[in-house]
């Protein structure tokens, strides 16, 4: 891949979904897209770029390219410190706040193959704070392929590598041969959909949420793209709603739409309330 081909493809992908591939990642891009060229029988990356722009199948192919370029790595109970803080400190607050409506909505944005959304559901069950509530967890992702897996809810050892044994026995059914399926009562709380976070229109379909999880997704975005996505989250969160980012992500230099909240166990972001009740 020439430097020029790299830049053209990069610009094209960036315009579509905000994913920015750094200059020094040319090799990675080449490796990941090469199978696409092979699958389409194209001779070189210039031809691939033309295909993405002009072929009648270009939209589907753009999805596949983005798919190949993003890492869908995810697993159950990823980043336990944050999840602990979420369970012990955020959930009780939400229970109080929403006691009137007895309804809780959580959005897992960039959910990949669904482990995060199901993990959240399991934590809610574990907490026993929301029994009899209307609980909805939305998992969305730009990749259609990962959503197929998410809906199936069947997982192997790689997904389970951080799952505590007691959770494994409580919330999964063994399918033999080191495969498991998420139990139906957990699945009932979770639904999945296809959504490009950078496409404002498709985001209109997401309902307002009490919490947004968006972990290890914005790492691919540059500052303007992050800003756009944060705006979406700010629109979609109820006032006082929480935004949970990945461990290595922060909102430095991204304006003041969210405030940093110091929990005992972790730092999280929150959309400001409209009027402030000072807490104990």
């Amino acid at each position: 891949m020439s430097a020029e081909e790299f830049r053209l493809l990069r610009d094209h992908v960036y315009a579509h979904c905000g994913i920015l591939i750094r200059e020094d990642m040319k090799f990675v891009m080449e490796r990941r897209l090469w199978p696409r060229l092979e699958a389409l029988g194209l001779p070189n990356f210039a031809a691939y770029h033309r295909f993405l722009r002009y072929d009648t199948r270009r939209n589907a192919e753009l999805d596949s390219a983005v798919e190949a370029l993003t890492t869908h790595e995810t697993y159950f109970f990823r980043e336990p410190v944050q999840l602990k803080a979420f369970t012990e400190e955020v959930l009780p607050l939400l229970q109080q706040r929403n006691a009137g409506t007895r309804r809780l909505r959580i959005w897992s944005a960039g959910c990949s193959t669904g482990e995060e959304a199901y993990t959240i559901a399991m934590l809610l069950k574990e907490s026993r704070l929301f029994e009899g509530w209307e609980v909805e967890i939305y998992g969305t992702d730009i990749s259609r392929r990962v959503l197929t897996t998410a809906r199936k809810a069947e997982y192997g050892p790689s997904s389970l590598r951080a799952t505590p044994p007691e959770m494994l026995s409580r919330y999964f059914i063994s399918l033999g041969a080191s495969k498991v399926r998420v139990r139906d009562d957990i699945r009932a709380w979770v639904s999945f959909g296809h959504l490009n976070l950078l496409d404002a229109e498709s985001c209109l379909l997401v309902p307002r949420a009490d919490v947004v999880f968006c972990r290890n997704v914005m790492i691919y975005f540059d500052v303007p793209a992050r800003q756009r996505v944060l705006q979406v989250f700010s629109d979609k969160l109820v006032p006082g709603g929480y935004l949970m980012l990945g461990h290595s992500e922060n909102l430095l230099n991204l304006g003041a739409a969210f405030e940093l909240v110091h929990l005992r166990g972790d730092l999280v972001y929150r959309k400001p309330e409209l009027s402030w009740k000072v807490e104990r």
Binding site: R7, D24, A39, T71, E73, R145, N253, A256, H262
Partner: protein, 658 residues
């Protein structure tokens, strides 16, 4: 609970800042006072708002004055942030601030200039390297590391002779950032200094010379863990900048040093856990040098850092077939990036014993992994691989890969492949199977292909046609005539493609209808085909298509005309006005042979697309005369884009020699 909940008043102040009218009188002063607010949210909002005010020059000056308010740390930091946000207009005031009498102010200026990252500050920062105050000098060093060019790097290099260790440390870091290693003799004494060691080794790694490799290897054998780790980091750095012959040298030297180390395995395994990216890169080189298959999983997991992917694949391939089997057996446990890297490396190690494990992978893995498994199955050269591959021919995502793998496989076990495909042809042919069968069967497949060209399923008709032309061009052309009047668009498109591949100029009339087809895919195929066969009598049709709003059609028409060698100046100009940059580029490339084309390229140096400007520069470098030199030089002077700059400076160089 200790939550930082903003008070009501704070929220009001915050909203007040957001509500300020940028054009209002007194807004600047309100913002300046907000920069002094006790709440960081308010300060941040004020810093943000500052960049939207009119008269940014004035804003910059006022912000610089805030930097001078000792004791107001929050306000000063917010002002600094706002200045960075202002961009170029902040440059002048900050450079002047470098001459302030207060060293604290000068240091601030250097820091902010570093964050701004504008080349225009380089000279001023270089002067600040001689500042009487040490803190200012260190900040200046860091800033030059961010904005510097060669001139800056040379200036930094001279500072390595200074006494002050802190300064030298900063210099080493800055030189690393600039990827500019000082000469080897300057680096050697620094390796012995505890505080400088890690950075000195890092810089050493940037020197692509055997002598540097020797020093690094010596470090690998050190008694001190910290030295060994620093050396490993250097090894990782050097491997990433080395060319092939040096790379072989690096591997050999590393192997010798590591073999002398009693706990090499333990040391290397631990290094995979290191925070430092370069140490992990070094661990990969070391693992490859040790050729220790038990490290395979650790090596594969290093691919979780994208930038290490290349090295991971390389290392795994060196660990040999035993490592391959280990990885294949543990695929399900590996993280996703590790799996992808492992799969890629497996391709290099594959042998017939891999078939069962690869077939198992097909059952559960992700599509990209499965694609690799498919390819690997082809390389096993084992008849056992035929059935799992044939089974994939009706899976759209993998069918293409399976066809190619069957092609590779038929090199070793042709009979088995043909037999399996014949069975498919009898029972339930699918397009991919048709292609595979034609490839393996050759002329023996022709009767079947002729039959399928009349099948009720249009996709099979198209596939049979595409396959037939590979086996026998004459048969292909004969079938194509029928295909061009088929009722199904995919078949017509296929017919047009086939004419393009095997027709001659006289076949142009066959394509006349296809050029006006209702289906755009057919039209695209026809345009392409006309270019291939060089049917000049259809040029007028193509010229009309250059004006088509669809960039795909217009671009292909331009390229087709260029291939025929009949592109007229008006048509060229028309194409250059197309709203799609790809069409403009096609026009530039097509025009390179004519005087009009060269004139057009000069105009396109001002196009908004970097790729168009780069293409124009290349055309001028290839085809322009010395009279274009001035225009190219002017374009270079104002070019911001790195790739376009390179094309322009190449063009300047070539034109200057004319």
């Amino acid at each position: 609970m200790t939550t930082d909940v903003p008070t009501l008043q704070e929220e009001e102040r915050y909203r007040a800042v957001l509500g300020l009218d940028p054009a209002g009188a007194g807004t600047l002063e309100s913002l300046i006072s907000a920069l002094h607010d006790e709440s960081w949210r308010v300060r941040r909002a004020a810093a943000e708002a500052a960049r939207r005010l009119p008269a940014p020059g004035e804003v910059a000056l006022r912000l610089v004055s805030v930097l001078g308010e000792r004791g107001e740390t929050g306000a000063r930091n917010a002002a600094a942030e706002a200045l960075v946000g202002l961009g170029d207009v902040a440059l002048g005031p900050l450079i002047r601030l470098l001459g302030h009498s207060d060293p604290d102010q000068r240091k601030f200026a250097a820091d902010i200039l570093g964050q701004l990252g504008r080349r225009g500050a380089e000279n001023a920062l270089i002067q600040a390297l001689a500042d009487p105050d040490l803190n200012v000098r260190v900040s200046a060093v860091e800033a030059v590391g961010r904005v510097g060019s060669e001139v800056g790097a040379r200036a930094l290099e001279r500072l390595l002779k200074e006494e002050e260790p802190l300064l030298r440390l900063a210099v080493l870091e800055a030189l690393t950032q600039l990827q500019w290693p000082p000469p080897l003799p300057v680096v050697v004494p620094l390796l012995a200094e505890g505080r400088l060691r890690r950075s000195a080794y890092r810089v050493l790694g940037l020197i692509p010379q055997v002598a540097a490799t020797e020093l690094i290897s010596r470090g690998l054998g050190s008694e001190l863990r910290s030295v060994r780790e620093a050396a490993l980091g250097a090894l990782g750095t050097q491997a990433s900048v080395a060319d092939t012959p040096l790379r072989a040298e690096i591997d050999a030297q590393a192997r010798t040093s590591l073999k002398r180390l009693p706990n090499a395995m333990e040391f290397v395994s631990q290094a995979f856990e290191a925070e430092d990216y370069y140490v992990r890169a070094g661990a990969l080189v070391a693992a490859g040098a040790l050729r220790e298959p038990t490290l395979a999983v650790l090596v594969a997991e290093a691919a979780r850092e994208d930038r290490l992917l290349r090295e991971v694949i390389r290392t795994l391939s060196r660990l040999g077939a035993e490592a391959g089997r280990e990885l294949l057996g543990r695929m399900a446990e590996l993280s996703l990036p590790a799996r992808a890297a492992a799969a890629q490396a497996l391709l290099e190690m594959v042998d017939p014993s891999y078939v069962p494990a690869l077939s198992a992978l097909l059952e559960w893995a992700e599509d990209d992994l499965r694609a690799v498994a498919v390819k690997a199955l082809g390389r096993t050269q084992s008849p056992d691989a035929v059935a799992p591959l044939v089974a994939l021919l009706d899976e759209p995502a993998l069918a293409g890969a399976a066809v190619r793998a069957l092609g590779v496989l038929s090199g070793g076990c042709r009979e088995a492949v043909i037999k399996a495909l014949e069975a498919v042809m009898e029972q339930r042919p699918v397009p991919a199977a048709v292609a595979a069968y034609a490839h393996a069967g050759g002329t023996a497949a022709l009767p079947t292909l002729r039959r399928l060209a009349r099948d009720a399923d249009p996709l099979l008709r198209a596939a049979a046609l595409d396959a037939a032309v590979d086996v026998d061009p004459a048969v292909g052309l004969e079938l194509a005539r029928g295909a061009l009047v088929d009722e199904a668009a995919p078949v017509r498109a296929s017919g047009a493609r086939v004419v393009g591949r095997v027709g001659d100029a006289s076949a142009g009339s066959l394509l006349r209808r296809a050029l006006q087809d209702e289906d755009i895919a057919v039209r695209l195929a026809a345009v392409e085909a006309l270019g291939e066969i060089g049917a000049a009598e259809r040029a007028t049709d193509l010229e009309a298509m250059v004006r088509h709003p669809d960039g795909a059609l217009a671009g292909r028409a331009v390229r087709a005309l260029a291939r025929m060698g009949t592109i007229r100046p008006e048509v060229l100009r028309q194409a250059a006005r197309h709203s799609d940059a790809e069409v403009v580029k096609a026009a530039l490339q097509a025009g390179a042979v004519s005087a009009e084309g060269v004139a057009l390229a000069v105009e396109m140096l001002g196009h908004p697309g970097w790729d168009v400007r780069a293409t124009a520069a290349r055309v001028l470098g290839d085809a322009g005369g010395r009279e274009s030199l001035e225009a190219v030089q002017a374009a270079l002077a104002s070019e911001q884009d790195a790739l376009a700059r390179r094309a322009l400076s190449d063009a300047v160089e070539r034109l200057s020699r004319r």
